[in-house]
Symmetry: D2
Subunit: 440 residues, 4 copies
């Protein structure tokens, strides 16, 4: 019998962790953190905080329901922090258990491990290719299926069991025109559907949008339409987006090149994510540079401020995060931002009251300085309702356990499933953090 | 001295009418209707209703403030009904005064005149080309400037006076990638800015969106991304959009061709708008057909229902309008719509309680029949806040009279203008229906 | 074993019907209609429509899951149409099965039966007192517990089984200060809690409000504060509220008396509900009169319009229902409503797109006539989240099946229950129309 | 000629300041602060910050438009910080100019002056009675008219000029049933209306609510209905409300007495406001005590936590303000708040993203500790649309300058005025911070 442990991420968007058990053996999928739970406590520094405390705060998964199970593998769907951010805290609970993921994901996870100040993580970590099927025990094998999302090398994780496949979607969208050329592996998904999917564990964050999520190519077009505008005579141009959104950053670099400006990426996390991406050939930095150290940042921003028309600044801070580059600019630090500057938000506002407040503070300060702002040149990285329907038709799973969402999102997923012939309680299971669903 | 008569459309989105007076001579811009004011009265048939009654209902402009002025020209910015729909009722108030507009606009206006059952309109109507400057009196000349919107041959109307130009934007967006190839005439706008714009009369409907409105190319991409989806195995495909949105219809026809399906446009207004567009070379109907008469509609829908996989139906009724094709389908008429069909809404919901209710009824009925729906594959045809800012910088007008919006929209426009250095009451004037603004 | 058939009202607010089975014997609770499902079809006249058709439209419960069970009693919690409105259509499915309810409820149900034009209802109907325990089979007894709501003589229905009580709340609020003196029977509820409640079936309509619902005394104060205002010099005064809301009507009559005006209730349904209420001593009509026939209505409104300062009109039509008195007034019929009149809405807007549209039409028309409107002098009749929590603590039920709400409301109820120590799937069951929950 | 200087509070809710000039002499009305502008800067301590800096931050009014005018009097409408909070910073700009207000207001203003650490305020401050007419120059006299709001001794300020009265409403509601017995002075308002009001300067914060604001008696009833609930068996009871809302605090003390619990008010600002109120006989503290010093707070909360059923705690922190008592409790300080406690919010959430975030953090933390929360047992202190209409009819002013609101609120007020026969730009003036309106 297959058991799905809905460890975490079933009551929130954040700190994802799921475990699949067959015949006493367990594969873990994701170990994420929940940053808003850290944010509400002013004195919490994740790197220095013990696991138990972070669990009590709701910042990382409480994995007590599986701690004594026989775990044979840990897998990561992709490299966002709500999927890998707790690795340094939780992997030590499963000593020697190997960790698998795509190369970009594993490299990011290793970075997390390195910056941890409390624990040492000794688990072996393996970079796995799409398509490779890794036997992790006599009965169980895992596989990473290529899918599109807002970070490179995202994957659906398949756990092959003698009773059929368990497919965890990770975070995904069906992007058929991604400017970087990544495409969902429809062929393999269709095959899996034919072979028989026992359980589907889909993310649910945008299930309420009654449409198909636009391609990343739309974001590219929105950005080009603004920046390459006939007669656009802006002086200082500052774009801000997610540091891990390599496709978006690539588009901005291309645009800077077309405008005859130099793209300058400023901020530690931008340097981190693009650095690894460059190493793997996932981004071309031609015509761009990334600066990281405080001194270099100060120096480059001084240069830029004296010749604004020659640069396209790309900075961290789209949510007004404390300490991020744009946040500091708005405070009057680093660069005399003002009337001559336009800030382009290539990101939405994360719908959490804390983010809204930070973003409000940021925008208020920028407005008081006379900065022009342009918002929402962005598309989501998550599947909408009609994408989910399509996945259901591709995979035709026997059972569904919606994941990665609060109760409302999970139940909306269940509603969609009912439209497709499933029934809640019979073959769609809305579960909660810390519980387990038995699949008969 | 220039006077701007804000006749109508200054307290609502609908029934636009403005008049520009210089030295006792008047140019009228637009004569629209307001359909929601007709909708709330069940027994009103516009074609058969007298002008006074329709004015009392708030369905067409009350033009009493300019009836006794010396009108030398009537101009139309574009062919939407909220800009030309009252021509048959109001043009007779200004006998013999010539009417000007682009060819597509004038042909549509002639259609309105023809279907009127109460009045006879004898005003001469002239098809005017972009760029042509038409002297309409000793002091006044008019000019149509090419601009992009959701109907072909939209224009900004310029009234040239000895004191400078008065520019009425009509409805517009800055679309730099329109799939049909139409582009805003930035060059002429920039020239006008240099020559000196005395008054700008801009539309205000989407002033609250803090972004740049996406290009029509984005709508095309959204549609292609859905329809040309790998593995899309839909049976019946039904798209619905605005009948006058020729670019959108063209995209749908292209898509049908790529899918190897025949596009069939069903409904009287679709036939009307595409008919005139075809005649002017504005749409290529290759691979498509439009059916209009009740018999033809019934026949073609019977055919389609027997071979759904061979057609892409394009129908009226995206707002659930009574009598429209999709509305009737939802009622079980014309075509046995059901589980095998997907309805694609390539249109937003017009934010009026009556439209919301009609749309709700439509969707509820479709859902009860098991129809799959996909929404919002659409972009707006109206400029957002940052487009408006760009226009202000292009034209650098001395005075501004925001139009085409309710009080909230007009005052939001005034806020934008204040950010750009104007001051309400000094050079930005928020006016009301029936009043007049004197420009010093 | 107890089975709860969640026949209807588990996917909507409307057409409630639940059945409790023990040992093969069934008690039905409520048989309601869903008016918005009737409204979306223009040609449906409930009285003349057959049951099957109405079920297909989703207008009345589909009772097929219990049609062949052995039904021993039908009970009504209270007299609102979403609880009794389908009696004439569905009671014939259970011939000779007796129907029970409080006197006001039964008299209203008899009215429904009488106006039916398609079926004849022969079931015996019994007026039952609060507290009386009626043995309806060897194993089962029913009981009506006094509770407060927005119609007189509302009750919770208890089905006593050998395994413990099943409590269906009907619609309720905990009103400790109702101006008519009705109070919840806390004593009996506490006793039931001690005796042991096997299953609680609570309504869920306002579960999302994180507060305690205000007493009807608050509505009375809002009305008095407006009408008895120092210096209130209104001319025509027109109040509109729910025709079955006897407490509210009584307050308005008292207020009219205090103002030295005559209260005149105009409209058929007002006459119906107050007529029965008066007969049972539930309302004092002193100083008021109700007019019903078209002629009387016309006559009295003519009188009132000639001496507006002497009357307080109380009319139907607060949701802009077609044919209601206020709706007709807004159309210019019956009474020349205008600048001298103030309309007081002592009712909220029912949050359904159709109602919103009707209400919008009503308000637009009234506004165009210069009528002053004052809204929201009203409190809800439904329990909020903290009232529900209190009920849970009073009854301490073993199992919960949330009712009377859409999926979102039912799941929100489940969330509350989880806060109180229950667990979804274990002892809280979110069910759907037509399904059944087995209680172990 | 009368000039109205709309110094501040005309683009926000906060930092109110208006000046009325006649014949070169000026009366100032209010000098408030805007706390959210302080909050967005982490390092700002108002008491220690110079005036210019605070003006630059937008935290206090920029009074440069009137600094060189001949000011003859400074008046305060009431004691809220957005009306008196800048006294210590701005009064020194007008040396020796006397300050007037009701006794409670002046005592609070003196407290502000005392805690200032940067400036010394030497202006004489006079406690003025309602009805008293104070001649402040040969031409000008001022008068305070009794009105109701959410703090004691609120007033409308009248500036009597040879051209008629200028009435500034301050913040107000028409409360005809205030439990403390305060009533609006309708008689005087009606007289003023008859004598002739040249200009009305009304607050606009709740102009968009289409109703009459409920009386404070409704809040009392909501609280009683919750606390005096039959069977309410709560253990720890903690209420939180505005520290200056003396009526609300009195109600809570009365309720505690009825419950046989001791009311304990904890927190510095609660002690401050109730201390002055007690001194003026505005509150009866019988059965209650207020603790202020950190030691006393710690001691009393330790006592309470050992005998929760004996106390009703009344604490600061309803908006989650950092450092407030409830905020600290939620952090696990001062009192082991948890499952046995119920927190009653007798206050709304202030609709500003920063407040929302603080409140969200507070509620999240309380929820994680298992605390029961009940919200919205509260009514507003501000007039709604229909109250404003009534005031217009009472005073019948010649001109209107809406105050105390953002642009949207001011324009909504203008819309109401237009319904009552005024016209924007003619006799209703929507102004902005720092501008001046000339009254002809």
């Amino acid at each position: 019998m297959i058991k799905i442990y809905t460890v975490s991420g079933y009551e929130e968007v954040g700190k994802n962790m799921t475990a699949v058990e067959y015949n006493g053996e367990v594969v873990i999928i994701d170990m994420g953190i929940r940053l808003d739970r850290v944010l509400i406590h002013e004195d919490v520094n994740i790197q220095q905080f013990p696991t138990k405390e972070l669990q009590k705060l709701g910042a990382i998964p409480d994995d007590s329901s599986i701690r004594n199970r026989k775990v044979v593998a840990i897998t990561f769907t992709h490299g966002h922090l709500d999927h890998i951010g707790a690795v340094a805290k939780l992997a030590p609970h499963y000593p020697d258990v190997p960790i698998y993921g795509t190369p970009y994901t594993i490299k990011l996870a290793k970075g997390e491990v390195k910056s941890e100040q409390y624990f040492e993580v000794k688990n072996p970590m393996y970079e796995t290719e799409y398509g490779e099927i890794v036997q992790v025990s006599e009965n169980l094998a895992i596989e990473f299926v290529r899918i599109t999302h807002s970070i490179p090398q995202s994957s659906m994780v398949v756990v092959h069991t003698p009773e059929g496949a368990v497919v965890h979607t990770g975070d995904f969208k069906f992007d058929n025109n991604n400017p970087l050329g990544e495409r969902p592996d429809y062929k393999r998904l269709r095959e899996l559907g034919k072979e028989g999917v026992k359980v589907l564990i889909p993310e649910s964050t945008r299930i309420e949008q009654p449409t198909k999520t636009p391609s990343e190519a739309v974001a590219q077009m929105l950005l080009e339409d603004f920046f390459l505008y006939e007669g656009m005579e802006a002086d200082g141009l500052i774009a801000t987006t997610f540091a891990s959104h390599i496709a978006r950053l690539q588009e901005l670099i291309w645009i800077a090149n077309k405008m005859g400006r130099q793209a300058v990426l400023v901020g530690r996390s931008l340097a981190k994510y693009t650095g690894i991406a460059k190493q793997l050939g996932l981004i071309k930095m031609k015509g761009a540079k990334a600066v990281r150290s405080p001194n270099a940042v100060r120096k480059v921003l001084k240069e830029v401020s004296g010749a604004r028309e020659s640069y396209l600044l790309i900075v961290t801070g789209h949510q007004g995060e404390p300490g991020a580059v744009l946040t500091r600019m708005a405070n009057g630090e680093l660069y005399d931002i003002g009337k001559r500057d336009t800030v382009v938000f290539s990101a939405g506002t994360i719908p959490n009251p804390l983010n809204r407040a930070q973003r409000y503070v940021l925008e208020t300060k920028l407005k008081m300085r006379g900065v022009r702002m342009i918002k929402d040149l962005h598309v989501s990285g998550h599947a909408s309702r009609e994408d989910h329907r399509y996945l259901l038709r591709l995979l035709n799973p026997e059972n569904i356990v919606p994941a990665h969402g609060d109760f409302r999102m999970l139940t909306h997923y269940a509603e969609l499933a009912e439209e497709e012939g499933y029934l809640i309680g019979r073959d769609v299971f809305v579960s909660r953090n810390g519980y387990m669903v038995e699949i008969k």
